[in-house]
Symmetry: C2
Subunit: 360 residues, 2 copies
């Protein structure tokens, strides 16, 4: 069992990483306040992990569960209403705790409900997918999608703790594991060239769920994210680097309809576009673009824009992206592998050229 | 023109009070960030003040308006969706500003939308009712109602400034002015006996909108609220005293249906119930209960529970109140005029007796 601290002053909290942490309630109990607990999960995760967790909580708390349908398509304000209804029907007070047991969609929604029920209740993350373990559960971004844009409705709201049980990866579909790896690779690309090289060398071990390799990848990812979030909780500066591949990726997700393509898959394609654009601007070498494309391919991630999506559709969707500042599109690009930068003066022509080169 | 500071560290902001402040954009400009401004108001306030405000903003910003139907009954999550639709349709970025021009309902909703659009955008309050000027616009409470409870969905989110133009009170219906006075009186009751006496002596001047009396009442109310909010932004302690009369009041509002009775009217009745209960517990004298009832009556505020509402209905609604902590109902009561306290061990019998005595 390892532990990391997310250093945010009075909002600091630990990320606890280990195998079979859910086998005992001990890791959870110090972070539950109040007498009422709502465990939020989805139809896929519930049969796997909910009964064991409830068995530990039920003798100690007045406990309820909310089992959501599975998928990004349900990450909406209408689903959030189900939280409020449940919490109020069971008279949950401001001193209650909400636990998210699931992937990024469950965590984002449970976090938003926790941020907004009675102006904020206690919140705990138990992420069960690689993507949520290395990215979305850490850092306090919560929210839901709007038909006109991903994560457009939300709040910054930090959990009391993040409990990462790596045993949950044994039940994760392979496609979702790969999607999570896109975010792991991102940390290497933006600030850790050695970590990127390590991933290149460890692809087989990771795909075979080698326990030591997984532990290292998750620990290192959370550590990088923790460092960046501690410097810039509300994304007014350096935290924006974590959005490498995300501006293009969000446009792909929105255009395809939520859930058709996984978030990590869209980020992989978006990262390839950002890499090509970085190369066009004279920064990243063509060889390094190829290294990135190859690594995604080895991890069975898509690297080409879906044929059904036009270049115009990109510009249309990106115009409402949160990274737009005073009308200017800000993009995260790569100076080289291990060094990212934010630029807001890239010409539309250059972007179009990078997009054109990214169809299969 | 007077100015007060709400002291909340990096979230500090000024409350600017004066006559005809909206006659110039100067007071507003330093607090608008970004190039896009959404002014939110309602159908009643829009014809009175929106054109003049837009005239000042339009030459300087890309400006849009959202005119909501008027009334507490529209303070719902469904109305909040109109904000998101408008903001996204016009591609408002994270660097936009939302201005609330209206009473508490407009301010609470605009604040919640500002707190949750793209995880938080710039927010300014221009309260146009006495109630919102002395209470709801200051302190960062935002949110909407749920069919099962008032303000159950929301966030703590501070504005960049609060601009109180006392000229707006000249167009405020008399009934709403009185409702606002219930909150002014509250400040006297919880911590300022001399202010309570001053209100008793100034009823006529206040009802005739005497400018000096109004300025003093608003300034003193905001000052008291600022002091309490600075000590306890998220209501974990002393801020709860501001809820005098509100636990009973919210139950009345919820039971009657939002908008049938005004918030301030419900608070007046709730305060009378709290005063009677305080007297039953041996604290407040019978004479002081009478002073409170009389002052509300002089201001044409209701002092009796609506006949259609049963005592059972109170207990049912109060069970989901935010002031419930670990299953215990916490009530704000009065030791004497000018001294409030929070108690969580009042017997159901005593509460019932105080309620029974509060029907007309």
């Amino acid at each position: 069992m390892k532990s990391l601290n997310i250093d945010l002053g009075e909002r600091s909290y630990p990320v606890i990483i280990g195998e079979n942490l859910m086998g005992s309630a001990d890791f959870l109990l110090p972070y539950i306040s109040g007498q009422s607990v709502l465990v939020v999960t989805n139809e896929t995760v519930a049969p796997l992990y909910l009964p064991a967790l409830r068995e530990k909580l039920d003798p100690l708390f007045s406990c309820e569960s909310l089992v959501l349908p599975d998928g990004e398509v349900y990450k909406t304000l209408d689903t959030i209403k189900l939280f409020y209804d449940k919490l109020l029907q069971h008279r949950f007070s401001r001193s209650s705790t909400i636990i998210a047991l699931g992937g990024g969609v469950v965590g984002d929604m449970a976090g938003f409900a926790a941020a907004t029920y009675q102006r904020g209740v206690n919140f705990i993350q138990i992420p069960t997918t690689l993507l949520s373990q290395v990215d979305s559960s850490v850092g306090g971004k919560t929210g839901v999608n709007h038909p006109l844009g991903k994560n457009m409705i939300g709040a910054f709201y930090q959990p009391k703790c993040v409990l990462i049980d790596t045993l949950t990866l044994t039940t994760l579909p392979k496609r979702e594991f790969s999607a999570g790896m896109a975010e792991v690779i991102k940390y290497g690309l933006i600030s850790e060239p050695d970590f990127f090289s390590w991933i290149e060398q460890s692809v087989d071990a990771l795909l075979h769920l080698d326990s030591a390799a997984l532990d290292y990848a998750i620990m290192h990812s959370c550590d990088t994210k923790a460092r960046i979030v501690s410097l810039d909780e509300r994304e007014s500066g350096v935290r924006a680097l974590l959005n490498l591949g995300h501006t293009f990726g969000h446009a792909i997700e929105t255009s395809q309809g939520y859930g058709v393509i996984l978030h990590g898959e869209a980020v992989a394609i978006g990262t390839v576009i950002a890499a090509r654009l970085s190369n066009l601007l004279g920064w990243l070498t063509a060889n390094d673009v190829e290294r990135i494309v190859n690594l995604f391919r080895c991890l069975e991630l898509p690297v080409s824009i879906p044929a059904s999506m036009s270049i115009d559709a990109f510009f249309q969707h990106m115009a409402v992206d949160k990274k737009v500042l005073n009308g200017k599109l800000r993009l995260v690009l790569l100076k080289k592998i291990g060094e990212a930068c934010i630029v807001s003066d890239v010409s539309q022509d250059a972007i179009s050229t990078a997009l054109e080169a990214s169809y299969s």
